[in-house]
Symmetry: C2
Subunit: 274 residues, 2 copies
């Protein structure tokens, strides 16, 4: 695996590659990331991963400074997964001057996670645009666990006429159902034992909807109440349309149930398609 | 010259081209545009022009509907200038749905022309980003007559890590000094005779500065007063730093004098580097 930190070196290394598939990450890689790398291999000839903890998408009170950085272990995992090229820029490489031009998503950036993380999706859209301009892939893969992010980037790619196909990767879960996430490492043992409740509740809502229950508000409120009783602080549990993440109406079919809630200081998100 | 209106057709036609030089236009081509095409030839192997009157960069009270559209004559001129490929999308091709993702420039978009044309540079940055994603050039050329536009796009390209060199093209002038512009066609005969005053005043300011006069405000105000006496309505005459278009201080050296003023219903802009 070739590792490049400078944009010019990366471009030179990729100049003659055909059908590049790109998987951007913030490092601290787990089996969910590796699953995306394996999926990438099926979409093209050259698999490029990136590791960059993007300051722009963290709020002032979020965990940018403490976000886990495990570069050497990440490299070993990527090499073992058959990744061809790793782009690992420093902040000075990707933001040599303060970023002043932004890719601004529409109002979808202010709902769900965006309501609780102002500026987050603008930061994501901007850094992904820059990474796309560095790597110039034909395909890019993003995990469905960050469902709203996948939606924002898919819409951005289409609206900005990017020559890039955006592919969603399935969420990988622990045996007890917890979605794998770098932030799971923040959980205490007791919190880790409690954490799978989020996925169980989402699965329960799905089962209720499939069974004919269309009282989405009641389903959402019951889940929030059970989380609260068990020590969670919930940002949202919400039944939405897959197409645009607008609140689901009783006639809508392709749905997704999304949730974000905190256990102690750790914010977990998850979702399930219906 | 090959002409394509659809993005997919354009991409297929350019897939094997090396060193693409791109010159975006809004059509109604004059000798200033053709000069850019000739300059383009010196920067690469394949010269691609585009013609697209971009609704996004026009304000609600501006001349989008009446902007001169002269497609057949434009094609003849581009072919004669040796342009290889013309990209001429319809609005349905470039905006198949309402544009909701924007490239947002920083505060430079709100000064000078931006103060009088809210949203203009956002519209320019967004459409040029999309055109870049369609054409994927190595070099792009923009005329210096739209000096602030050139600055915004050069900064955007650098800040967004676009793999595109932005080149400025010299302004082409009529024998009496008037900068060539599609909007000159709006002028009555009397206005056309008056119009070169703008350039004469800018040249006078430059001569004064070169001669040691650093009282920029007095120079600006004298020019505005002479324009007003002669029937112009002036948006600005301003001495700025070339680097960032900030107001020039007495210690600054690389300067540019920019002006925008109206004769009747026609808004003319011009500038001169010092």
């Amino acid at each position: 695996m070739h590792i490049h930190s400078r944009i010019a070196d990366l471009r030179a290394a990729l100049a003659d590659r055909r059908r590049i598939v790109f998987v951007p990450t913030m490092g601290n890689l787990h089996a969910g990331h590796i699953s995306l790398m394996e999926q990438a291999r099926r979409h093209g000839d050259t698999v490029v991963a990136s590791i960059f903890v993007n300051r722009l998408q963290f709020g002032p009170n979020e965990d940018f400074d403490t976000y886990p950085r495990t570069f050497q272990a990440d490299c070993d995992k990527l090499a073992a997964a058959g990744v061809d090229v790793l782009f690992a820029p420093s902040e000075a490489d990707l933001y040599p001057e303060p970023q002043e031009y932004f890719v601004e998503p529409p109002s979808i950036q202010n709902i769900l996670d965006g309501e609780f993380r102002p500026g987050h999706f603008r930061g994501v859209a901007t850094v992904v645009s820059k990474l796309f301009n560095c790597v110039q892939p034909q395909v890019a893969i993003f995990g469905k666990k960050d469902y709203q992010q996948l939606m924002v980037l898919r819409n951005m790619s289409r609206q900005m006429a990017l020559p890039i196909e955006i592919v969603g990767g399935e969420t990988v879960r622990a045996d007890d159902g917890l979605a794998l996430s770098s932030r799971n490492g923040y959980l205490s043992a007791a919190e880790r034992a409690e954490a799978p409740r989020l996925q169980r509740l989402l699965a329960g809502i799905r089962a209720a909807i499939v069974g004919g229950n269309r009282d989405f508000a009641a389903l959402e409120n019951a889940a929030i109440a059970e989380l609260t009783v068990n020590g969670w602080k919930t940002d949202y549990v919400s039944v939405r349309r897959q197409a645009d993440l607008a609140p689901a109406g009783s006639a809508d079919n392709a749905l997704v149930v999304l949730a974000a809630s905190r256990l102690g200081n750790t914010r977990l998100i998850d979702n399930i398609e219906v």
